[in-house]
Every structure is written in structure tokens, then in C-alpha cells.
Amino acid sequence: MVTSPIFDLRPSDPTAERDIFVTTFRWMLLARTVDEKLAGLYRAGKIPGGGVYLGKGQEAVSASLGVSLQQGDVYAPLIRDGAGRLAFGETVIEALRTCLGSVLGPMRGRDGNVHRGRPKDGYLPMISHLGAMISVVNGALMAKRRRGEQHFVGATCLGEGGTSTGAFHEGMNQAGVERLPFVMLVTDNQYAYSTPTSRQFACKSLESRAAAYGFQAHSIDGTNLADCLRGLGSAVTQARNGGGPQLVIARLLRLCGHGEHDDASYVDDRLKNSPLGRDCMVVAEQRVIAEGWADKQEIQSWRAQASSEVEAAVVQVQTEASPDPYTERWSALKSTHLLDGFLNA
């Protein structure tokens, strides 16, 4: 797994509360810094292809899953998982290369923004179709089990809107039937693009679906890093130790537009002013200070470190070539002898 410069901050003793909390908080900081930079580049018209989808407000839950996974696991993050991706082992530069269209990025300009990954390292690149990654993770886990591997876990993420797809149902049922070491993280951020939860599902709670699929349910407060670490840590551990598939429902409010093109004017003020509307970064920082794990000055230095890492990466990526349509291999098959000569002349 490729590691980010601050990857080594991962605590050697993951039970040490301070270490894990601070480590995760720093992934959150780094992810927020990347997101803010991307938002700025978007406003400046510097994003080829145009789209930017941020994870503002979802860093705690996303990073908590990322730090709970380890090498050998399978991870298929989604739209708002910048923090989880970094915590799992993606580098800042790799993320930026995909977003800024560098040919050196893992997708080489063939796909962009959140559609990135390194399948060889268990980091699966999402397709857009919501719900579609669940069964892909299932298949990877089935293959690992078939090969006799042990103690591995697979996890993927969705918003509450994604749970309304047929693919979600099929994938969850399949994971249940196969009793896979699988963690489904659903972050209910109150809106799917502009659609409120009342137009998305009729069940009393998303947790109630767990039993129907043979999953164990967990609920977490997505604004509270301590709760995210507890809930996701426990779900991942149970899956790893033979407890079968786990459904984790995190609640919070999306603190940005669906994408940066969206002003999110439809978001209800009452939600913004409710506990759901708290910013997980602020809540986590307060905890760090209250516990005496770091003071304001030290946190400021972490912020500065994140910022300089991101700035340096942007500068580097902006000097890198974009893909060249004239030297591009326009071929969708590995078996080049089976390309249709008439279509691929």
C-alpha cells in the first residue's frame, strides 16, 4: 500500500484512545484541506471535466472506517469519502492527480474525480451507479475466502439515497446469504442531492433493514468522531472475527452542496441548527482540546502541515501532463487480438 507522508502516524497500539483519535482527526484535517483546495480550484475553473464532490461534514465517519481497515482488506469508498481514502492509504497527490486530470494518476484521465482507486491494493474504484459496489466487494471477499485467506474485511459506503436501489437490496442479501465479513456504512446526511429522506424511504429507521438481510445493525452519531470510531471499530472488528455482515448507519447533515455547482439552498434551516448540523471537525477539535491531547497551537501546526502538503501536491500536479488523445491507446480490451478491426482501425 502506498502511504502518505503522515501515514506513519497510524498508532502502533490501536487501542490507545488518544493516538487513534488524533490520528483520525489529522486524516480529517487533511481531507478537509484537500476539499477546500478543490473547491477553490473549481471556482477558479481549474478542474478539467468540471465536477467536484466534497465530503464536508462527513470526515469523521469516513475517516473512522478508513482507519479501521488494514492491508489485505477490501475498501470501496464513495462520493464523500476523501477522508476514508486517505486513512486507507491513498496519497494526497494520487487524489489530486485524478481530480486535476494528470496522466500520472491511477485513472490516467480515463475517469475522474471520485472515480478512482487501486484495485490491486484492495482499494476499488467506484462506478457512478449507486449500490453497484456492494456486490463487487462481496465477490472479492468470496474470492479471498475461496483462497483460504483469513481475518479480512470488506467495506463500502453509500448515502441513504443509495439504499433505495435494487443493487443495494441484491448486494446486501448476497452478503447475508454468504455471511461475508462485510461492513456496509450508510451515511444518512438527510438529503440525496435535493431529495429529503421522507421521499426516500418509508421504514422507521434504516437500521431496521439490517435484520431483513441477516446483518447486525449499528447506529452512530456522524458528527461525533469518538462515536464514529467506536461504532465503526466495533463493526469492523465483529466482521473480522466471524460475526457476519454489519450495517452501520451514521447520521449527520451534508455541509456542502451535492457538488460544488449546487448551492444547497433547499437544506432546511432547522436541520442546520439541530445537533445533526454540527461540524464534525469542530466537535473533534473540541474533544482534542478538552482531553488535553493537544492545544490550539499544536492543532494549528497540524493544519499548516496539511496545508503545505496539499499546496505542494497541487503545484506538482499542475506541472504534470494531461492525457494525450493522440497517443492514447483507444482500446477497451486486454485481448487486443479480439478487437474488432473494423471499429479499431
Binding site: P119, S135, E170
Partner: protein, 321 residues
């Protein structure tokens, strides 16, 4: 001893399982029951843990095959009927077909589609889906017409490092017999001249090859020599073999069992028009099923799809042009 088209498919899977530990078979009722058509008969017993039942979840069946392929496996997915590949369509065209192009990680999965019409099967157990899949980059689509091809092409499909849609024709399952399984074969991607002739070319694939051969037989009695080209794979299409045949005959009729809008026959005609316009003595023609859903009643069905009778009429018409 003889072997049917269906037995050839079973034998190819048995051999693939025996030869390569990365191969497994996943689909509805494929386990100890042996599959709705018995294409996996006895395989679950012969290869414990490697031939197993899926829930009725075509999307998840294909999605999981992609995940397993990423982890180095070579899954075979059986759709119970080609018609039920539609709920799995998204995973096939968006996940499987794009994986290699996006990530350079190969996606060696084989999806078996028991395809095409049989008497009394109706609108939802008769469809020919090949053109839909062929439309998408990143997929290989095979349509074997013979027992030998059913066997050798399925083995090839499993060995190929890209996703293969294997359209096996249900009408041929029991009717079609060969003396034995083949030991050698024409490679995938190459068409085959199933019968040589000099007066007119019929390009066909899958079950329609046999209807075309029957017509060629009938017209031979009248002194007309029809050349029949069996496409074998429809993605890629072997344009060279088609053009070479048209160069010999100057007339071409393309026959497919699928619906008439677009599709394989239109693609072949477009290629002939582009590459062999000057070789034609008459406009290229095509014959397909009717532009309605596939009817249940045997009398309706017999007229819905092309048969030796309607092909013969189209051939006679084209010979007059």
C-alpha cells in the same frame, strides 16, 4: 456415441473447472440441481464448493463476479435465461466492460446466456440479447452455432482475459449432435464458411446458421449455390471473411433471430456497404424477427422469427434483383 450442444457446454465447463482452480460457476439452481437446463449437471458433486447456487439477483451475481475477477478468479456466471440478464445489465456494461479500460486490471468473466426462441417460450424466455451487449466497448460476444463451437468457444471464453457474453442457443441444446468433442478449433473472432457457394451469401449466426444451411440445401437442388457464413462471434465481427464471400457471390442476405431495429444484421450490412460496395450486384438485404415481442403460441412464434421458409423467400427475391 454422440454429444449434444448442451452436453458440449457441460463438458467444456467440467474441463475448465478441472484445468484451472480459479474457475467457479455461480448462478440460479446451478449447484446440486445441475441448472434449469442441466448445463451444470453433476458438476457441483464433481467439484465441491466450486459450483454453487446464487439468489435471484442477477445484478449481484455479475457484480460479485467482477469483484472475484479483481481478486484473480475466473468466474462463469449462468443466467437462467438470456432474458434475465437485463437486471444484471448495469453490472455487465458499466462494471465488467469498463474495468480493464479504467484500471488495467483484467476482468476475465464468462456470462452464459441461454438465448433465443423455442416453441411456446413466449416473450420472456426467448430473447436474443447479443446486440445489446455487443454495442458496449469492453465486451466480447460469442454466438456458437455448432456443438464443436459450443465446446471450444466456451473453453476459449473462460481463458480470455476480458468479459465474454456467451450466447448459447436453447433451440440447439438437444437437437444438435456431433460425433465427439473437438480437439482443435478456429480461434474466436474468426467467422467460418459453413457451406461454400458462388451465387449468394447468407451471413448468419447461432441457430439461424442451420436455417440458412437448410435453404442452401433446398436451392442446391435447383442449381443455385448459396454460401453460408457463420459469424461465430458477433463482437468482434470478422469483416474480412464476409467481404471475401461477397467478393465471390456479389449478393448478401444477413439473417438474425433478434429484433429488426439495428443489431447484428444492420451492422453487417453497414460494413458490407462500406467495405464491399463495389463488389455488390444487388443491394444487401437483411432478415430478422418481427418488430413485436416474441409470441407464446407456436403458430405465431413460427412466423415471428426467420425460418428456412422466410429465408428461402428472401433469397429468391434477392436472386431476382
Amino acid at each position: 456415441m454422440s454429444v449434444t450442444y448442451l452436453e458440449a457446454i457441460r463438458e467444456a465447463q467440467a474441463r475448465a473447472l478441472a484445468d484451472d482452480p480459479r474457475v467457479y460457476i455461480y448462478g440460479q439452481d446451478v449447484g446440486s440441481f445441475g441448472g434449469a437446463f442441466k448445463a451444470t449437471k453433476g458438476l457441483a458433486q464433481q467439484f465441491p464448493g466450486r459450483v454453487f447456487d446464487a439468489p435471484i439477483s442477477e445484478d449481484a451475481m455479475v457484480g460479485s463476479a467482477v469483484g472475484a475477477a479483481i481478486e484473480g478468479m475466473r468466474p462463469i456466471i449462468e443466467m437462467q435465461f438470456a432474458d434475465f440478464s437485463t437486471p444484471g445489465f448495469n453490472q455487465i456494461i458499466n462494471q465488467a466492460a469498463t474495468l480493464y479500460w479504467r484500471t488495467q486490471i483484467p476482468c476475465p468473466i464468462t456470462i452464459r446466456l441461454p438465448s433465443g426462441g423455442t416453441s411456446g417460450s413466449g416473450p420472456f424466455h426467448s430473447q436474443s440479447m447479443e446486440a445489446l451487449f455487443a454495442h458496449y466497448p469492453g465486451l466480447i460476444v460469442m454466438t456458437p452455432a455448432t456443438v464443436e463451437d459450443a465446446y471450444s468457444m466456451l473453453l476459449e471464453a473462460v481463458a480470455i482475459d476480458d468479459p465474454v457474453i456467451f450466447c448459447e442457443h436453447k433451440f440447439l441444446y438437444y437437437h444438435l449432435k456431433a460425433d465427439k468433442l473437438p480437439t482443435e478449433s478456429i480461434p474466436a473472432g474468426k467467422a467460418r464458411v459453413a457451406r461454400p457457394g458462388r451465387d449468394l451469401t447468407i451471413v448468419a449466426y447461432s441457430a439461424m446458421v442451420h436455417e440458412a444451411l437448410a435453404v442452401a440445401e433446398e436451392l442446391a437442388l435447383e442449381g443455385t449455390e448459396i454460401e453460408v457464413v457463420d459469424l461465430r462471434t458477433i463482437k468482434p465481427i470478422d469483416t474480412d471473411t464476409i467481404v471475401a464471400s461477397v467478393a465471390r457471390t456479389g449478393r448478401v442476405l444477413v439473417v438474425g433471430e433478434a429484433f429488426p431495429w439495428g443489431g447484428v444484421t444492420a451492422e453487417v450490412v453497414a460494413r458490407v456497404a462500406t467495405e464491399a460496395f463495389g463488389l455488390l450486384d444487388a443491394p444487401p438485404q437483411r432478415l430478422n424477427a418481427k418488430d413485436t415481442p416474441i409470441p407464446y403460441h407456436p403458430d405465431l412464434w413460427a412466423v415471428h422469427r426467420p425460418t428456412a421458409r422466410s429465408i428461402s423467400a428472401a433469397v429468391r427475391n434477392l436472386l431476382q434483383m
